[in-house]
């Protein structure tokens, strides 16, 4: 832990991307579950996720990064699914 003498003037953070250091996926009430067979790889979930919790590799959707998922449910809402079957569903978080 740093003391008061280490505080920069105005508490201005002098680095970029420091939000990555703080895992924000610990207070979820609901978590999204990805159903791969219903996924059409439209990447709307990646586009809409406010927390960069949808991982994409080589243009393909991977599973969620739950360290940063707050369980907001936007991805599940936006998911068009395949023939009416959603590829993301929200389920109650079980600890």
């Amino acid at each position: 832990m740093i003391g008061w003498k280490d505080i920069p003037p105005g508490m201005v953070l002098l680095e970029a991307g420091s939000a990555l250091k703080f895992k924000t996926g610990s207070w979820r009430a609901f978590k999204p579950r990805w159903i791969e067979e219903n996924c059409i790889q439209c990447l709307l979930c990646w586009l809409y996720c406010p927390d960069n919790a949808v991982k994409v590799k080589d243009g393909k959707r991977q599973d969620f990064d739950f360290d940063y998922c707050k369980g907001c449910g936007i991805c599940a809402m936006e998911c068009p699914g395949k023939k009416g079957n959603k590829a993301i569903v929200m389920e109650e978080e079980v600890k």
């Binding site: 832990m1 008061w4 505080i7 003037p9 105005g10 201005v12 680095e15 420091s18």
Partner: protein
């Protein structure tokens, strides 16, 4: 060569703004500040300065725009009065917490309700713990001089804090006085080029302003912030010394008037100090040892220096142009009392509230206070600690 002119206080401060030429100036008109920004806006429109004027829809927005522009890396100014300052309240703390050196003349005016456009100090006193440095000015000359020095104080690398320059609404803002203007080049050289500390527009060095700080670090952040204020009095004195070289006019943390050998004294801010000095001269001619202390740097309050200047007196009256409703005493009294409370020998203190909402402060008010102090010094007895003066029964 200095130029002697006859101008209003607002005109003088607008001229200081013109000479300094801030990068950004957010403005919202409020009586009695309006004339200041109106005159400065004319300088912008006439092309005399390249300042970016931001015409906002409220004082809350004016201060928000100033915070944004200052964080971006600009030299920034605005001005306000009364309800306008009250509306800025939330953002005042952000400006000081982020250490943004914004300069803001506050043309002192009463707070509502009832609505009153005239002078008292309740506006600036309401913001006295917002972390802004406060310089107070007796007349238009001091308002002009303090505005120029405010930029140097605010922008000093040890400090980086916003500064309010207070002067009395209408009494100073709209009365025409004799002023000595410094040359444009002299002022420009004095304030110098602005060096931002952590400009957001420096895109090669990304940074974040205003992070979320919870229980883990907020206490430490506030301690660090509180420490900065200890450095302010020295910088204020240093800047004043340099200012004397270009102007011949001396400034300190406060003004002492015939205080050295005084037995009784008055503490009073801004324009009423002038009237009080005249009355003190009359009493001095009659052999009565009375003096005056006029605070200039009111925030941070230089309590050690003020306490030392007053501790040997027998009786002191602190005159407040603002009340503290539901509190004990007027705001200036509280700081004076706190400055003296740890001295073994100290004067008897009384508190008088005067001049609210533009009520004239007359020589007879100062006479009444001095007569009362003479009596207290003789008997040691105080009839009433806090009372309004110049009020009808």
């Amino acid at each position: 060569m200095t130029k002697v002119v006859a101008v209003t206080g607002n005109e003088a401060v607008a001229n200081a703004f013109r000479q300094i030429e801030p990068d950004v100036c957010a403005a919202y008109p409020i009586t009695p500040q309006t004339e200041l920004m109106q005159r400065f806006a004319a300088f912008v429109s006439n092309g005399q300065v390249k300042t970016e004027m931001i015409l906002v829809e409220s004082e809350h927005s004016a201060m928000s725009a100033c915070v944004g522009a200052a964080a971006a890396g600009g030299r920034v100014a605005t001005a306000t009065s009364s309800q306008g300052l009250a509306l800025m309240w939330e953002i005042l703390f952000i400006a000081s917490g982020l250490r943004l050196p914004i300069v803001m003349p506050v043309v002192n005016r009463a707070l509502s309700a009832p609505i009153n456009i005239h002078c008292d100090h309740s506006d600036a006193m309401g913001a006295r713990d917002s972390g802004w440095i406060q310089l107070w000015s007796e007349n238009a000359q001091e308002a002009y001089d303090n505005t120029i020095q405010a930029f140097r104080i605010a922008e000093h690398m040890d400090i980086r804090l916003p500064v309010m320059v207070c002067y009395d609404g209408f009494i100073i803002s709209h009365s025409i006085e004799r002023i000595e203007y410094l040359d444009d080049e002299v002022v420009k050289k004095f304030v110098g080029e602005y060096k931002p500390l952590y400009p957001l527009l420096d895109v090669d060095n990304p940074k974040s302003y205003g992070p979320l700080i919870l229980t883990d670090l907020y206490h430490e952040v506030r301690k660090a912030h509180s420490e900065v204020y200890k450095k302010v009095p020295k910088v204020v004195v240093d800047v004043a010394k340099e200012f004397k070289k270009i102007s011949g006019r001396s400034y300190g943390l406060f003004e002492s008037y015939r205080l050295d050998d005084a037995e009784i004294g008055i503490v009073i801010l801004n324009s009423a100090a002038g009237t009080t000095k005249d009355v003190i001269d009359e009493y001095r001619e009659r052999g009565i040892k009375v003096g005056l202390l006029k605070p200039r740097l009111f925030r941070p309050f230089p309590y050690e220096e003020v306490g030392n200047a007053l501790k040997n007196l027998k009786a002191v009256c602190v005159l407040d142009r603002a009340d503290a409703f539901g509190g004990s005493f007027g705001p200036l009294y509280l700081d004076i009392a706190a400055s003296l409370c740890n001295f073994k020998e100290k004067p008897v203190l009384i508190n008088r509230i005067y001049g609210l909402g533009g009520r004239d402060y007359m020589p007879e008010h100062a006479q009444g206070v001095i007569d009362e102090l003479i009596e207290i010094a003789k008997t040691g007895k105080v009839k009433v600690l806090k009372e309004y003066i110049g009020v009808r029964e």
